[in-house]
Assembly symmetry: none
Homo-oligomer: 162 residues x 2
Amino acid sequence: MTLVMSPDSSYGRYDAPTPTDVTSPVHREREPELHIEFDGTTVLCRVCGDKASGFHYGVHSCEGCKGFFRRSIQQKIQYRPCTKNQQCSILRINRNRCQYCRLKKCIAVGMSRDAGCMRDSLRWPAGTHTQLAQEGRLRAISVRQMGRGAHAYRRATRSYFA
Amino acid sequence: MTLVMSPDSSYGRYDAPTPTDVTSPVHREREPELHIEFDGTTVLCRVCGDKASGFHYGVHSCEGCKGFFRRSIQQKIQYRPCTKNQQCSILRINRNRCQYCRLKKCIAVGMSRDAGCMRDSLRWPAGTHTQLAQEGRLRAISVRQMGRGAHAYRRATRSYFA
DNA sequence: GAATGAGGTCACTAGGTCAC
DNA sequence: GTGACCTAGTGACCTCATTC
């Protein structure tokens, strides 16, 4: 399930990136719309469908894909080309099978070192947590749980999703 | 686009800093002129080109560069030297890549703890908002929108620029 | 009282770490 | 190499002081 959230007041700070390649099958990701995938209870990683841990490098992604992409760009790794048709499906259970296609998918969904510019804040749109919790999609998080200080907050974050 | 506004009555209290390095490409910033950069609709941060949120530490700057400079001078942080040529370009999308060059740029464009002294009032020159709004460069802001109290005003501020 | 900048706050992410 | 967890910032928003 893909939830497409249109721009509204809560996106006032969002500058729509100019689509650079409208022939790309993923050019829609670059429009000022927010695609959030749910499996009913969870915000999903745009790369592999695992539970997203946040908005990383411009995309809702899991810790695994975030770390994978980080290593890829840091070390400028050239993965050996896919031995199949370079169209491996990337799923949580098989995401480590083909690094070439995993990185390709990361890029395809819009991950980039600069795309995640903190204030572009397509990450969790304002009120997402609250709204989702109210809708029962996320475990409810009280302000107390969000807590004073980063540690308490982070501990809560890890258990956002049931 | 750089709008150079010549000194006039509203700059009467401005003391021109003495240029210290006229070979520098930024030495012009230090002349007694007010450079306001527009992208057509928006006053831009002199450091990174993001949307300026006001006149901070003597320079039109965004919230990010303002906060960055504040932390830098508060904690007297010595950033580790740039690993490249110490001439990183500082743009909105990459401003967090090199703290050394970001701080260097902040200083180069004239940010200083004292420069932003409110009574120096180089911030928004008197009438800037009104004038720009009339010229269609800024979204028009009615006095009502500026509002009663800081809250309403700030809410409006966030959407100053289309 | 309105305008507005300095400084504080804290939700949030980039990048580091290390058991696996 | 991977990814769960950690640390060090980052910046949008807030409060308060100052100026007009």
